[in-house]
Amino acid sequence: MGLKLEGYAGSGTFAHGIHPSDHKALSKDAAIRVMPTPDTVVLSLHQNIGGPCEPLVKSRQAVVWGELIGKGSSFVSSTLHASVPGIVQRPMRVTLANGRHMDTLPIKTQGEVPSDRELWDEIFGGDWPTTGLEAYEPALISRDINDGGLVGLGGAAFPTHVKITPSDKKPIHTLIVNGCECEPYLTSDYRLMLEAPAPIITGALLAGRSVGAKRIVIGVEDNKMPAIEVLRKATDGTGIRIAVVKTKYPQGSEKHLIQAVIKRQVPLGGLPSDVGVAMSNVGTMAAVARAVIHKKPLTHRIISVTGGGIAEPSNVLAPIGVSFGELVDFCGGLRPDAARMVAGGPMMGFAFANPNTPVTKGTSGLTVMTRDEVKAGEETACVRCGKCVDVCPMKLVPTKIAMASRHRDISLSRRYNIMACFECGSCAYTCPARIPLVQLIRAGKALVAAAGRS
């Protein structure tokens, strides 16, 4: 075993984790479809981890596609752009899929909208240079990324310019581009790698240049061989390597991909930069290329609309701010046995019920699960089998943390490193007693955080 990649010490995998069936067959062969511009979009002023942005436009103001409409006030925040041309409406408060209530800027579409073909060409088409990139200054690349409103498109939505920036304090040796897409069902990154590898590679070269990385590697799970072939061809001569890692959940987690590729552990509470790594998702890289080369902001993204509860599972290029309901309609509507809509994948995604909920920059997919799939098993007492321990990729003892949380025992949950849990869901997936471990741990974390503040 191992990566068989010279200079990379990783074994191609990490300890623990789970092997859920991936259900990717539903949408993996569905070529990306461009969604016609909707009548309205609702743009949350809070699209990312970190601070929200301040609106820069007034209601009734006309904006063009890509116009700057919001700007963050702190470093860890991002900018926001109109994803359609039109008229800004009165700000309103909306509940996002993750349950947070956020101020939004709705825009009513008006004026000329590009055709599907034009939109695709505008975003992914044209030439993507792999040479001559020395012309782009590392610091300016980072500035363009900020101006383009880029956040991590893999789901975490961390502002990209905070990661992709030259830093003297923590020198970066390796840029790892994350193409794992380990969540079951989702295929948006896979389709992007297949259909538009060129901007990913240009973006990776630019990002690598910005952080001063000596080498760039794209990590892809081995259940995506066609994408790996395409990337191999496309990276030929660029110096970028492809790390084929084992398919296992949560391989796409930053820390676990770093372990699998370079065999370094990011310390608890630390960041990839602590081990000299910068990491970003493939979709983000394509957006970087566009922001730096064409100075165009992030206004659209690819979303997998999939699951047994959706009539025509698809991969859709859609504007940020479109409602999930419209995505559903575009994909043939819900099947009668649809039972749960999840923003993102089934392991870490957020369930929501209101079809008006808007898509944000971090929305990698909409997974609609069926009644049979979400039928809750009966919860029994913990039989202390230790299966949750055996699968936890952070090597925690989930049952102990969950029970400590249930009994509101903050010091005990701290002793079991509750804050190291990143809520991947592997433990709850595996538990034969069907204990809602993640839910309990989440509650416990809130207690710990509250205790830390007081």
């Binding site: 300890a15 789970i18 909707p38 009548d39 079951p184 820390k255 372990q259 552990q265 630390g270 309609d329 819900l334 099947r335 009668p336 046995d337 649809a338 039972a339 749960r340 999840v342 089934p346 392991m347 870490m348 995604g349 369930a351 019920a353 209101n354 079809p355 699960m369 009644r371 799939e373 979400v374 809750a376 098993g377 009966e378 029994t380 007492a381 913990c382 039989v383 202390r384 089998c385 230790g386 299966k387 321990v389 055996d390 952070m394 090597k395 925690l396 003892v397 049952t399 102990k400 079991y416 490193n417 190291a420 809520e423 869901g425 709850a428 997936y429 034969p432 069907r434 809602p436 993640v438």
Partner: protein, 338 residues
């Protein structure tokens, strides 16, 4: 998107659900993860144990005939009745569905001699389920292995019926029962049973613990199914091998070897079916291994230095008592701090 359509989708949330024939989507929310492994459940684990017990039970029926049937009936009936009764007394919903009472009943029967009188099995079953499990708060809360609690209780109360001689019934038509148990024959008279007899299980002893082959088959099934963790039997056997090996080298060459220790006297039954009870053993792989080592060491200490020829029961109960300590002690180092 028309607002009419949106309204429809929301409307559907409040429509009464036709469970049999879904006609419209009904959307519910719930925290992540939204997937669960459908192949695991508490009941499934118990069913696995029952499947694994099949060779053991079959062997006991073959060797002990009516004695085995009788003891199984008594213990199963007893533990099911006890579960029903005690759960009802505590006003809890019935827990028979999780099958754990059945598992306890069978394991208890398999650890008793077929010749024990009916009230011994019955009392053991009531103590196992009532004191061993329900009093602690039911499945998952108990500190001690229920079947072993029951067995220990009758062993102390009815010393005669369960002492070495209790296993024998010289007038019996069933061959095995008319002999002394191999462990006892050795302890008392220095008679060494042939290894092959221990392996196939054609010797006297508690019902389930005589055939090493049957225990191995069931045990391997449990490990392959990952219903029990290999760390416990591995640690246990390792400890027995090492201590037994040293004893072989140091002690009198009387023909009773470390292999006799492993194949005889309920050791394999204990290693695969008793010590592996998840509830009363540690959570982490390292903790499990330590637990197995501890059980194995105690078994050998008891066998070599005490009057109890078999030792598995007390070894397991003692290690059950230190399980919470092991758990606290074997907190794994989280990823990122290694």
């Amino acid at each position: 998107m028309t607002t009419e359509k949106q309204l429809n989708m929301q409307d559907s949330q409040v429509k009464p659900i036709d469970e049999t024939r879904p006609t419209a989507p009904v959307i519910h929310v719930s925290p992540s993860p939204h997937l669960a492994q459908s192949t695991t459940s508490t009941r499934r684990m118990m069913v696995d144990v029952l499947v694994a017990l099949v060779p053991v039970v079959a062997m006991s029926l073959f060797v002990f005939r009516g004695y085995a049937l009788f003891q199984l009936a008594v213990c199963l009936g007893g533990s099911l009745a006890a579960e029903l009764l005690f759960v009802k007394m505590r006003g809890r919903p019935s827990t028979l569905k999780d099958f754990s009472a059945i598992v306890t009943g069978i394991i208890l029967a398999m650890s008793l001699p077929g010749t024990a009188p009916w009230y011994v099995g019955l009392i053991a079953a009531f103590v196992a389920v009532g004191i061993g499990k329900i009093i602690f708060g039911g499945l998952g809360m108990n500190l001690f292995n229920p079947a072993m609690v029951g067995r220990a209780f009758v062993m102390i109360s009815f010393a005669g019926a369960l002492a070495a001689s209790g296993f024998e019934d010289v007038r019996s038509a069933v061959d095995a029962v008319s002999q002394a148990t191999p462990m006892n024959a050795y302890k008392m008279n220095g008679v060494v049973a042939p290894l092959a007899h221990l392996f196939w299980g054609t010797t006297n002893g508690s019902l389930g613990e005589t055939s090493a082959l049957a225990c191995l088959l069931g045990g391997l099934y449990l490990i392959v199914r990952r219903t029990v963790s290999w760390e416990i039997p591995a640690g246990l056997l390792l400890a027995v091998l090492v201590i037994g090996g040293v004893a072989d080298l140091a002690g009198p060459a009387d023909g009773w070897t470390v292999l006799h220790h492993i194949l005889g006297g309920s050791l394999l039954f204990g290693a695969f079916f008793i010590a592996t009870d998840p509830v009363t053993s540690p959570l982490t792989p390292r903790g499990k291994f330590i637990f197995g080592l501890g059980v194995g060491m105690l078994i050998m200490l008891l066998r070599l230095f005490s009057g109890y020829p078999e030792g598995v029961m007390f070894a397991v109960l003692l290690m059950n008592a230190v399980t919470p300590l092991i758990n606290r002690w074997a907190i794994p180092v989280p990823f990122g701090e290694q």
